[in-house]
């Protein structure tokens, strides 16, 4: 039974200025600070509190949409859920396999063929050779790229590349699927298939978390919504309610 329990989670991100990243500057600044007036050498590290005491629980069947302006903390939160950032305070407990889907094009080799890229991506997602082999036919069929899969992907059009990336990315199944700002894919004929595949994948997941600016995507895939502002949760509830609330507030 997949679950995510987040308690008083805070994330402090150190902002390393150019000078703070230089060992020489840091050492010299520390040497100067001994027994004298404090000189601002620009090496102090400022910290951004990206998430401030967030708590929530998700269980089997929950589909959460993260809403909020840029910089609110959606991407940070989703990366904490994906175990990429560790909490600075508070804790998070997860049960179930994590499938992070952030950068659809990550790890692609332009000079390699479609099939080789399917293998590379599979490797990066942690699949075994056998698992990749089992999925290849299905991915190839879904992408409808046919013989093009034997050619290097630098020969593909942008739409074809997206098709391949999408087919590979959505070929995995997992308990907890995390998506950050996914774009809608491909031409009109592919879009229908793509939407259905997304719904299939998210439907099979135990828990889904999507961060997006697009209300239609959120309404289509999510049951719950969480609105973030400056790292804090300002609203949590059924997705339609959370999406509509600022409009109500503005009107009333």
């Amino acid at each position: 039974m997949p679950s995510i329990v987040v308690e008083n989670l805070s994330i402090d991100i150190p902002v390393l200025t150019l000078r703070a990243q230089s060992l020489r500057t840091v050492v010299v600044a520390k040497a100067r600070a001994v027994g004298g007036t404090i000189i601002d050498s620009g090496t102090r590290i400022s910290v951004v509190r990206a998430l401030d005491q967030i708590s929530f629980t998700l269980g089997e069947g929950d589909r959460l949409g993260l809403i909020g302006p840029n910089g609110a903390g959606k991407s940070t939160l989703i990366r904490v859920l994906a175990d990429i950032y560790a909490p600075s305070a508070g804790k998070i407990e997860r049960q179930g396999t994590l499938i992070p889907m952030f950068d659809i094009g990550i790890g692609f080799d332009q000079e390699a063929t479609g099939y080789e890229n399917i293998f590379l991506r599979g490797m990066m997602m942690g699949l075994t050779r056998r698992e990749i082999a089992d999925r290849t036919d299905e991915i190839a069929a879904f992408s409808e790229l046919g013989e093009y899969l034997d050619l290097p992907i630098r020969t593909y059009s942008a739409g074809m590349t997206l098709r391949l990336m999408f087919s590979i990315a959505t070929s995995v199944a997992g308990d907890i699927i995390l998506m950050d700002e996914w774009i809608s894919v491909g031409d009109v004929s592919f879009q229908g298939k793509a939407q259905k595949r997304m719904l299939d994948m998210t439907g099979k997941a135990g828990i889904l978390v999507i961060a997006s600016h697009d209300p239609s995507i959120l309404l289509q895939h999510c049951t719950l919504g969480m609105r973030l502002e400056k790292g804090r949760v300002v609203d949590f509830g059924p997705i339609a309610t959370v999406l509509d609330r600022p409009k109500l507030a503005a009107a009333g």
Binding site: S22, A82, I84, D103, G107, F119, L120, M123, T128
Partner: protein, 265 residues
Amino acid sequence: MKSSVDTERAVRDLRDVFVRSMMWSALASADIRSKYRLSTLGSLWITMTTGAMVLAIGLFYGQFFGQDMHSYLPYFTASYITWSFIASVFGEASTTLIGSGNLIKSSQMPIVFHIMRMMQRNLIIVLHNAVVLAAIWPFVRWSLYPSALLSLVGLVLLYLFLVGVSAIISIICVRYRDIPPLIQVLTQFLFFLTPIIWYPEQIHTGKKILALNPVSYMLIVVRDPVLGRPVEIQSWIIAIFLAAASVLAGSLMYVRFRRRIAYWV
């Protein structure tokens, strides 16, 4: 705020280095294949370029310094091949985590895998280069004893030593961005302090300082057995100790700082 969860996760990553070795080794092979994909000879170019370089420098230096070519050419070749492995790893370690920033922040790949991928790539290259040494044997015919196989043991020790050092270097470099050029300078400096183009027997004064260079020992245990040069038992002990200490230090560093890497990169 560190916690046991972080330590557990880091230890799991280190264990996965063995359990999921397929991931980083397959990606390393793919990297090499990709680099030489459109060339006529493919990855054989690695061997060709080293071969050409070794031949040119070995013959030239040998004549210039009046060395006996029969002993100097294989000596220089084996030294050069081993040293390029070391220098390449030092250099790539300083940028590997910085360059993998995208993967670190978007995927679940254990961070140590980026280091192992880099190590594996360089191992593939050194194995390509070793062919050059085999290729000159028919011309020079130095005596090959069964103890030559000890060079493989030496290579394993060197690999372990470099894994640990890479972990340390790459983590420091992700945090302090002015270190990579420093590593380059230090590597250049080390080149002259290590018996690569000269024989250790040639040095009289300054022997004690040279004995402090850890890279010398790692180089000697790889190069000397295959050339039939005797290696003191003391050098083996030091090499084993250095390899173990390096792996330990690298692992501790990884466990301590792994959670910070995603914030620094």
